[in-house]
């Protein structure tokens, strides 16, 4: 695709369709880039390549706000006011390094932008004091942004060389945490909406579908269906009304990729949606987003208003003769509404329950019309894909999985946050090179990938490449991108229990195997983690019987459930059983939890050689289970002990032993 063509074929008309001036400049700049022409100063300013007074950027995504960014913001504002400093304060989204929030960047005129970590409100005065007088507090500096012309700060590392960022391939997240998500101009100045204009004026819908198909882009929401192929289903139908739905109902525990993209770069999603809608012929698009994402919703609303006002979506967008209305539909937070047909029911105003497929939504979807549902990340990939061309896109990744994937790192990992890596990167690289490994010197146990539908990856498979197919070989799946890391202190039976509890609560209740089966599986897991004390006479026999049923039940649920939620509901159990069978056996046969996480299976005793009879533990014991006379070794009555662990914390002599 050549941008040159745009000017030639419709140069005159583009000028006349009322596109924002900045967008015309951006298109022009892109065409003249080869000729080495200088960028227009308006673009340079909008990109903040040059600033006239200091700019202070505050990472104010949901993760930043959780870490105290709003207090930091107030502190920055009052500092500036008190010291009568003229500066721009910009709230940006999340750059991904959530563990270092609140993040504050400062850009002084004539100097590159520098990012500082953990700038809580009390840190603000000293930071600004130093930076505004041209001194960088090195302990707080994460790194500086690379600038094309300005001389770098001495002794401040480049941000793109930081171990967290260096191995990443940031396409979808390119603007997140960098640009002001509330500014359409900034998005445009960074190349935004150029592709949309290009696509609308130089490509037929079929050509777009084909380009996307050739790129090898696959659905990033979990299923991994080839996006271009999906679009073609709807493209090929002749219905008078078609719909595009952006699935932003991100519900997996530990997943926050979509939220970050929308909060940090909402126009990228809108541009992707406009291209997708054009490709399939949909004049109405819905963004189905969970109501628990208020900031993302606010950003989206604002972005839609701006794009509509600029003629970038709405009737006759970009003068193409094509209309697109974008509507935000808030979901009430049911996990199952991420399933396509349930999501459609929810938009239609009905209870979010899946229905059998076929008919597939691409043929008969929302209000009975052909409907394409893509996830946020999939759609956010589209502008990049069209800009770089499908060949370049397909050059990144593995044979079957192209491009990049965004992951949300959480759990027992040094750098929690959001990363984007090329397909084919290994899990080990993501967790240990980027994520910084397991904190506190603990040993790695497993990572849960793909949320409640996915599986866990044990140590011996850490070198598996991130790829839709290879992850399946170890009983996991790509899923939407949550990576929850577990260390030696995590009990895998407890983990399975957590996910089973989640699924059985979130099952829509429609089909019997999912509704009733997951409930019984959870009960079996509960029985496994229950101590002998809380058992009635026949429970012990049931306990052994039920374990034999666990796998059978999982199999029936997988084979017979109505939707993807049910069919994958048993995965966390099957996966942990596959890799950590020994832990299940320890719970079943020895009534021990090797990780020491299942409270009822943990026993405490006092080493009489170490105990000096200080009675500190006696005072903390809620059930009066500890006996002994002062200055003599004490004893814990196992029948009275409830395993709370207070004694362990109370003992200063390490005489309490947890087993």
């Amino acid at each position: 695709m050549t941008h040159h063509k745009v000017l030639e074929t419709s140069g005159a008309s583009i000028g006349e369709v009322g596109l924002p001036e900045l967008l015309l400049l951006s298109i022009q700049e892109n065409q003249e880039a080869h000729a080495g022409a200088e960028s227009d100063s308006r673009l340079v300013r909008a990109r903040r390549q040059e600033v006239t007074h200091p700019v202070i950027f505050i990472g104010a995504g949901t993760c930043g706000l959780g870490a105290g960014a709003s207090a930091t913001l107030k502190a920055v504002q009052s500092y500036l006011q008190n010291h009568e400093v003229t500066a721009d304060v910009v709230e940006v989204g999340c750059i991904g390094l959530c563990s270092a929030e609140p993040l504050v960047d400062v850009q002084l005129p004539g100097r590159p932008r520098v990012m500082f970590r953990k700038v809580t409100e009390d840190q603000v005065p000293q930071l600004l004091e130093a930076v505004l007088s041209d001194k960088i507090p090195e302990a707080m500096a994460l790194g500086q942004f690379r600038h094309p012309t300005l001389a770098p700060w001495p002794d401040v590392p480049m941000l793109d060389e930081h171990p967290f960022f260096a191995p990443q391939t940031r396409w979808v997240l390119a603007n997140c945490g960098v640009i002001d998500p509330a500014s359409l101009d900034e998005y445009i100045a960074h190349g935004g909406y150029r592709c949309l204009v290009d696509v609308l004026h130089t490509m037929t819908p079929m050509q777009v579908c084909e380009a996307v198909e050739s790129s090898g882009l696959r659905g990033r929401g979990g299923g991994g269906f080839p996006t271009g192929k999906k679009w073609k289903f709807a493209q090929g139908t002749t219905a008078t009304q078609k719909y595009l739905i952006c699935n932003a109902d991100e519900g997996d525990p530990g997943a926050f990729m979509d939220r970050a993209v929308i909060e940090g770069d909402p126009h990228r999603l809108l541009e992707g949606m406009a291209i997708a809608a054009y490709a399939i012929g949909a004049s109405k698009a819905y963004i189905y987003i969970r109501a628990e994402y208020p900031l993302a919703i606010r950003r989206l609303r604002q972005a839609i208003e701006q794009a509509e006002a600029a003629g970038l979506i709405g009737p006759n967008l970009c003068g193409s003769g094509f209309d697109l209305e974008v509507v935000i539909k808030m979901g009430a937070g049911a996990f199952v509404c991420g399933e396509e047909t349930a999501l459609i029911h929810s938009i239609e105003g009905r209870r979010g329950m899946p229905r059998p497929r076929p008919p597939f939504p691409a043929v008969q979807g929302l209000f009975g019309k052909p409907t394409i549902i893509n996830n946020v990340e999939t759609l956010a990939n589209i502008p990049q894909l069209m800009a770089m061309g499908h060949e370049a896109f397909a050059a990144v990744g593995t044979d079957t999985s192209k491009g990049t994937k965004v992951f949300a790192l959480s759990g027992k990992i040094t750098y929690t946050g959001l990363v984007e890596v090329a397909m084919g990167t290994t899990i080990r690289q993501v967790l240990f090179d980027i994520g910084g490994g397991i904190p506190d010197g603990k040993a790695y146990k497993a990572v849960q990938i793909g949320g409640p539908s996915g599986g866990c990856i044990p140590e011996q498979h850490l070198d598996i490449k991130i790829d839709y197919e290879s992850l399946k070989t170890v009983g996991a799946m790509m899923g939407s991108g949550g990576l929850v890391v577990m260390d030696e202190d995590t009990c895998m039976v407890d983990l399975a229990k957590f996910f089973m509890d989640f699924i059985q609560r979130e099952s829509c209740g429609k089909c019997i195997p999912c509704r009733e089966g997951t409930r019984r599986m959870l009960e079996i897991l509960n029985v496994l983690t229950r101590g002998r004390k809380n058992e009635a006479r026949l429970d012990a026999i049931d306990r052994f019987m039920s374990v034999t049923q666990l796998q059978q039940l999982a199999e029936t649920i997988r084979q017979t459930s109505l939707c993807g939620l049910g069919q994958t509901a048993a995965n966390p159990v099957l996966s942990t059983l596959r890799w950590f069978r020994d832990e299940y056996e320890a719970h079943l046969f020895q009534r021990k939890c090797p990780a020491g996480a299942c409270a009822e299976l943990v026993t405490y005793r006092i080493d009489p050689r170490l105990c000096r009879g200080c009675t500190a533990c006696v005072k903390k014991c809620p059930t009066e289970a500890i006996f002994g006379s002062r200055k003599n070794p004490h004893y814990i009555d196992p029948d009275k002990c409830i395993g709370c662990g207070n004694c362990l914390d109370a003992c200063k002599l390490d005489a309490v032993i947890k087993e």
């Binding site: 429609k510 089909c511 409930r519 039940l553 084979q559 069919q567």
Partner: protein, 572 residues
Amino acid sequence: MIHIEVNNRQLEARPEDTLLSCMRRHGLSVPTLCHMDGLVPSGACRMCVVEVEGSPNLVPSCAFPVRDGLRVSTHSPRVVEARRTIVELLLADHPDDCLFCARSGNCRLQDLASELGVKRRFRGARSECQIDMSSCSIVREPAKCILCGKCVRVCEEIQQVGAIDFAGRGSRSRVGTAFNEGLNVSSCINCGQCVVVCPTGALTEKDYTREVMEALDDPNQLVVVQHAPSVSVSLGEEFGLPPGVDVAGRMTAALRAIGFDRVFDTGFSADLTIMEEASELIARIRNGGKLPMLTSCSPGWIRYVETFHNDFLENLSTCKSPQQMMGAVIKSFFAQREGIDPAKIFSVSIMPCTAKKFEAARPEMGRHGVADVDAVLTTRELARLIRSRGINLQQMPAEEADTPFGERTTAGKIFGASGGVMEAAIRTAHYLLTGQELADLNVEAVRGFDGLKQAFLNVNGLQLGVAVVNGVGNVNRLLKEIRDGRSDLHFIEVMTCPGGCIAGGGQPIGIDRSAAAARMKALYQIDAGEAIRVSHRNTAIKQLYDEFLGEPLGHRSHELLHTHYHPADVLI
């Protein structure tokens, strides 16, 4: 032509077939719990799963479209194990009270448990639910609910009432009313179609057999019973007879054997209804009254208007339904004639209907604290009552109903089928308007199962427009047309249940369209086979007017046989 192979047998399929419809047509049986003919498959119960070659998971045959070359196995070990597990899972959350359940012996869950040889495999917590006894007509016992969703679908998609829906998530999912309040304050119209489709005992009619038996045992009470036109053609099914066998005579004998003092035929009061209603129609046409007039025999429909279409209350005929007219004349004319205090008469009606229970309990249906009808039993309850007395219906001798209210014409009998009221009314209206009988008494245009039937008849130059609706949901479009200005209709019959009373909510469980059709056919056979086919020739009716009522729409008629309506105060 599409060919599929099921269990190594070649089957021809139609392009629109699902696996299930194709297999059923060829006589192959696959169990289902949630499937409903004619509705989009819901795919909820997963009982109909089969193994399709090349498909990694089992597929639900109810929703799986056929394609050429499919190879299917319906009872492979994998399939049977899956079905068994599903039933075992259901039983793990089901009360163990089959012995006391109204549906014992007629329960799909029980049947499947027995067919699949289930064991008690899963023992876990059971859901705790409260029984909802608030409705006069229907009892909900959510503990027995398997969430197949058929009640929800029949209520919303067929009847377009939507009184119940799913609530809650996961294993806490329940079928319930808005805000989980009692059915009595919901928008339920008491039609009982949910009860008929329920595969278990989660929905049952409110049982009044105990009250009836107590009355029968009370020497101070004269217990009188009436039976509705459609009961005699369906009751036999409860005793092993094929659908559509008329057991009116045997039923009369059985009712006497049970101990009822008088056995009357609601067909008589159906004739009476026609006299009043046809006169009311003519009066409305002549006097510029509110048109189109809507029938008022079907109490579910009345409630539907009161709940959803208040603007049509004045269009409803003020005539009470045949049940209530019979009740009223029993406790007035009959009581007077027999010299009994109306309070000492216990009046029972046998109805194909659960809404009749609600109707009988309406405060306006009686005088001076004495209800017109004291207890309403459905066809199913009557069958229980007969069985409880050790009576073998099949072997009962045929007996005649009692005078004076045992005499009916066939016009009263066809009330049991959709279109019957209309046909009977047309026969009499024609006579009242012209003084002549219709040349052909058969008004075929209003017969049959179509949800909306319309006919235009020329009566002495009057172009009489009539419409017949069955399945109350089908009325909405017609009412919208009328609101939008349509004015060519004078009279509309609406029956709440699809097909009319023959497929009412109180009829034997497990009916399909063919059974309902057989019942309908039986009614029209009776109509064709008897001599007196018009209500105005019912001699007992004439006698009633001469001796007691005076004339149709007269003062006494108004007092006893007419009523009024008011908007329903419901939650949603």
